[in-house]
């Protein structure tokens, strides 16, 4: 495996770009948005070509439609109940199935009571390109681990690139700055959906706006943005 950086790494690539010639020997690890074609590594999605520390190439794209992947966390909207499953809209190609028993403490007798339109925070357990994905509201050990129905709050959508930023570790500057001065809950799904809840509406609106506007900002810019927004709120309140 070659660890050498190609010139395309870190650059914007477009679908159909031939990125590098595949070596006759050795292993190239390929992630999302890439494929091999006629001896070349080819991008099939637009985005920035990235390489992990282990040498795996992948493309960080920026799209609205969510393509499910196993172990992603998602925020879904219950759309229907069919037998032993809830049908959940997760903004993917197919509706996801959430078994009624995939909640902490759920049994045949004690089923969770979810209505159409309710929000759930869940993880993807199966994802195939030709079939409905399956969700679960428990982790591997059967505990809820934070998953489950989301009550109240405000839901907004953003690109999957922003979701990845929000979920990255350490958390992005905008969340750190907001967290220093405000009290709120935030749940980010990989499917481009963010849920925010706080004791008062003004805070919820402020957090939502700050997050939505932070996509292309640097650390300093994000901190400045939060400061400005906070000042505005204090002004109107004062």
């Amino acid at each position: 495996m070659s660890a050498s950086h190609t010139s395309a790494v870190g650059k914007v690539v477009l679908p159909g770009d031939n990125l590098l010639s595949l070596p006759d020997q050795g292993v190239i690890r390929v992630g999302a948005g890439l494929r091999q074609s006629e001896g070349y590594l080819q991008s099939i999605k637009p985005g920035v070509l990235k390489q992990t520390k282990s040498g795996k190439y992948w493309i960080e794209g920026r799209q609205k439609r969510y393509i499910p992947a196993v172990d992603d966390v998602v925020v879904g909207v219950v759309s229907d109940r069919q037998g032993d499953n809830f049908a959940v809209d997760i903004n993917g190609p197919f509706p996801a199935a959430l078994p009624v028993l995939a909640f902490e403490g759920a049994t045949r007798r004690n089923r969770p009571n979810l209505q159409e339109g309710d929000l759930v925070y869940a993880r993807v357990t199966t994802a195939y390109r030709d079939a409905d994905p399956e969700l679960s509201c428990v982790d591997a050990s059967g505990k809820s681990a934070g998953f489950g129905p989301l009550k109240d709050g405000y839901l907004f959508t953003c690109t999957n690139a922003l979701c990845r930023q929000l979920l990255s570790s350490p958390p992005p500057a905008v969340l750190l700055a907001l967290g220093k001065s405000l009290q709120f809950e935030i749940v980010v799904g990989m499917n481009g959906r963010v849920w925010v809840n706080s004791p008062n509406c003004a805070t919820t609106v402020l957090v939502s706006n700050a997050v939505l506007n932070s996509e292309f900002l640097s650390q300093a810019q994000a901190e400045l943005l939060v400061k400005k927004l906070l000042a505005q709120v204090q002004q109107t309140q004062g």
């Binding site: 190609t6 031939n18 590098l20 590594l41 999605k45 637009p46 920035v48 799209q63 190609p93």
Partner: protein
């Protein structure tokens, strides 16, 4: 694309293009992600001609329409005025087959992609402009593709002269029009051996012409496509560069 209708062109328009040479394209502009509800959208303009394209999907489709192994592409074309008719059906069919030619439809079996095209302003070359808008919208939606396309129209004028990217007056005066779509394929230095020129993905003609003139126009379009492709890459990079920190 109704060159037969309407009043004849003024002789001035025919005599000389005022603002550009015969082989010069009009100013290109491309805006992306302007529709909130669509999964991808783009507005492409060539001079005064402007077309808006929106992509929805890949998403669930009717059981009747779904295909077990591939993603189904549906295209709807809305003209600027009047209801869609046979002309739009043909445009839809051509655009659908172009999209099928570049999208990796096997990546999303049993789903559908809907492409909606709204002609905003027609000042010639609507078909080419629509193709370019669709190509940009596909990138915006992040649909998996193994290549992309760009399109250019050129015209054979009375007196056997040729012009590229004609406006409506030139289109109406033209003896014949050739619109073609060529594939684009970029190669980074590490894959330089893969370099290949644009090839003809689609061609659509109107008017009768000698075969030699037709081949000249196709070649002219091919060269024009290289220039459009350069612009298209630049525009796409601009829309994606925000997060390249």
């Amino acid at each position: 694309m109704q060159p037969t209708a309407g009043p004849g062109p003024s002789s001035e328009a025919l005599a000389k293009r005022s603002d550009r040479t015969e082989l010069q394209l009009r100013v290109l502009t491309c805006e992306r992600s302007l529709l909130h509800r669509a999964d991808g959208s783009a507005k492409w303009s060539q001079g005064q001609t402007s077309v808006l394209a929106a992509i929805y999907g890949p998403r669930l489709t009717f059981a009747k329409k779904e295909h077990p192994e591939t993603c189904v592409v549906e295209v709807l074309v809305r003209p600027k005025t009047r209801l869609p008719g046979p002309t739009e059906r043909q445009t839809e069919s051509l655009i659908r087959q172009c999209v099928e030619g570049v999208v990796l439809t096997a990546m999303h079996p049993r789903t559908a992609i809907l492409v909606v095209i709204q002609v905003v302003q027609n000042d010639g070359c609507v078909m080419a402009c629509a193709l370019n808008a669709v190509a940009a919208a596909l990138v915006d939606a992040g649909i998996p593709m193994h290549q992309n396309f760009v399109s250019v129209t050129s015209a054979l004028m009375p007196g056997a002269s040729v012009v590229i990217d004609p406006d409506l007056a030139e289109e109406q005066a033209a003896e014949a029009l050739v619109c073609s779509a060529c594939t684009t394929c970029r190669s980074w230095p590490e894959a330089s051996a893969a370099q290949k020129g644009p090839a003809v993905l689609a061609v659509y003609t109107r008017g009768a012409m000698p075969v030699e003139d037709y081949l000249t126009l196709v070649e002219l379009n091919r060269q024009g496509c290289e220039r459009v492709a350069q612009f298209s890459v630049m525009a796409a990079e601009k829309s994606l560069v925000g997060k390249s920190r």
